[in-house]
Symmetry: C2
């Protein structure tokens, strides 16, 4: 059987390079996939050499995933249009602020039967509602788009430490193929029929992690952190129901992209860490972003602001006391101890009605 499918990867940061390691190895065992995997690398000079050259000769992304070899069938290319032109399967894994530019570049160069999967964290929420990365990709490219998210700190996966992930895919046959590209003995893939639910979990958990970081900064214990994680998780589910109506499935929250990712992010990760520093140093979030993230935006801080503008415009703040408290601590100077104010909402008797599906 000659290969009829070909996968490419758009993005070569820490997570993209980790995905390239997995996919590069997997395609060699999949007869209907071409062995070659092109990966789009935003060209930069690293120690007087082009990063694409380094990857194609040393088979290592020395800048974003140092210490882990990439399979030799992974080929770095600096031109995104060139990367996608013969691909049936497109993996998108770039920072979300660059997505529209990239889509405009590759639009017109993709195969008509191509499919995509988004590994991007982050969704856009405003007073109008929610826009996910798969929706943005689908609107520009008009192809089928799936999502992948989970308790997936990239370096731990590169070290082949066991974990799980979730693929959201609306077509069962497509799901089987995506799973075959990603699943390994140490990276276990579960598929669900809920594309935006998977994305929603991946974005919202960062607000909860900011709350968990406040708890660490206040020097409180395991009980307190578990309470914040539990309440945050329930507010995520409530918000999903309110913002998307029946589009998001409740069971998605029990997958790796839901419960497991919330836990991972509340114990590791930079959202938790910056929030701890916020409490301990008294510095503002923008100041900490400058000092600790080279000016990059902290996802949980951004999302807390977006979610607040949504729930505020809907007048449902009372149903989201934790998200509201985190917003007010981050943006309005309230003391981190106010995180506990009014948290005793009874989630079992839910009087919040879903907004109409947009």
């Amino acid at each position: 059987m000659s290969p009829t499918k070909k996968v490419c990867i758009l993005g070569s940061g820490n997570w993209g390079s980790t995905a390239a390691r997995i996919i590069g190895n997997n395609v060699l065992k999949l007869p209907d996939f071409d062995d070659s995997v092109k990966i789009w690398v935003y060209e930069e000079i690293v120690g007087r050499k082009k990063l694409t050259e380094i990857i194609n000769t040393q088979h290592e992304n020395v800048k974003y995933l140092p210490g882990h070899k990439l399979p030799e069938n992974v080929v770095a290319v600096a031109d995104a249009a060139e990367v996608v032109k013969d691909a049936t399967h497109i993996v998108v894994v770039i920072p979300h602020q660059f997505i529209q530019n990239l889509l405009d570049t590759i639009h017109g160069n993709i195969l008509p039967n191509a499919q995509a999967i988004s590994l991007i964290k982050g969704i856009g929420i405003s007073s109008q509602g929610m826009t996910t990365m798969t929706q943005i990709i689908h609107r520009t490219l008009t192809i089928s788009v799936s999502s992948l998210s989970g308790a997936n700190i990239a370096n731990e996966i590169a070290e082949e430490k066991y974990c799980e992930t979730t693929i959201g895919c609306s077509d069962p046959d497509e799901a089987i193929v995506w799973r075959s590209l990603f699943n390994t003995s140490y990276f276990q893939v579960n598929c669900v029929n809920d594309v935006i639910g998977v994305e929603f979990c991946g974005a919202l958990k960062n607000i909860v992690a900011v709350g968990a970081g406040f708890i660490d900064g206040l020097g409180l214990g395991n009980n307190t952190k578990a309470a914040i994680i539990r309440i945050g998780f329930l507010e995520m589910r409530r918000l999903a129901m309110h913002i998307s109506g029946a589009q998001i499935q409740d069971s998605t929250f029990m997958e790796s992209c839901g419960m497991a990712d919330v836990i991972t992010t509340c114990y590791g990760g930079r959202n938790r860490r910056l929030a701890e520093e916020f409490v301990k140093t008294g510095k503002s979030m923008p100041q900490l972003e400058q000092e600790l993230l080279n000016g990059q935006k902290l996802q949980g801080y951004l999302t807390a602001g977006e979610v607040h503008s949504y729930i505020n415009s809907c007048g449902v703040n009372d149903h989201f006391p934790l998200f509201t408290n985190i917003y007010e601590i981050c943006y309005q100077g309230k003391h981190p101890r106010t995180i506990f104010d009014g948290l005793n909402v009874d989630f079992s008797r839910d009087t919040l009605t879903p907004s109409p599906v947009t």
Copy 2:
């Protein structure tokens, strides 16, 4: 209004003394409760003095909750029958192996209209099914019995660090009273109509904590631990459904006694710690119990054995790969790395039918 109710506490260990601090303060604000709270203390000599005397003069349980004063209206008494004789509300908080002896002592001395609440962790599971502490108490005393469990490491509560707990109570009016005895600004009580579900969560989470300890012992990361917590949590829910049919409510697992307690126990607590030592030292569980717990039994290890005998006799091991792996590692000398074997069970398509309600 003269008080018509009186609460007593059976048990004065770390958790019992913490509960006495809360209840002792709360009754002073409850006009229908007598101000005096008798607490049964298993008499022992601490530094040449009786523990009851120390508590009644220094107002501190110097052995089991040092550094935290008890309210002066909490009165230590060495005779359990004396403690219960005029109590309308009995809080039971002793190690579960002593429960039957204690019940035989107080049986015949309690008021006919008394109610009890169990704070005891641990249930009995055999090939015949499950027996909970509230069932044991109810069978002997034939009074109404509720349960309380949550993400509640006692010392953190004594330090008044914010947390939540869950009361399982089948009567809404009784639930309001129990809540008024326990709820404080830092100890938030949610009530559910599911007495044994609350107990079930409190016991089963210890198996998951043993699994989490193995992960720590193996030096794996946050992703892996979150995966084990997620899968363990889902196996707890499956076992609840199988063992008790419709008796246990699914929503109970989202309360503090469920999700939050699993998280707390997998990051703190002695089940996790001993399991980590088990991997690092290669010593057996009974040996570690001798060395680190003065011969006390480790709850998670015990429960893993009991659960295994149940699922084995029902022939449903395949539906509980994590619990089975943890059992085989603890009892049959399998390598801790085998914890990942066969974990990719799809819990969303559940083919396991509940056993008949016993």
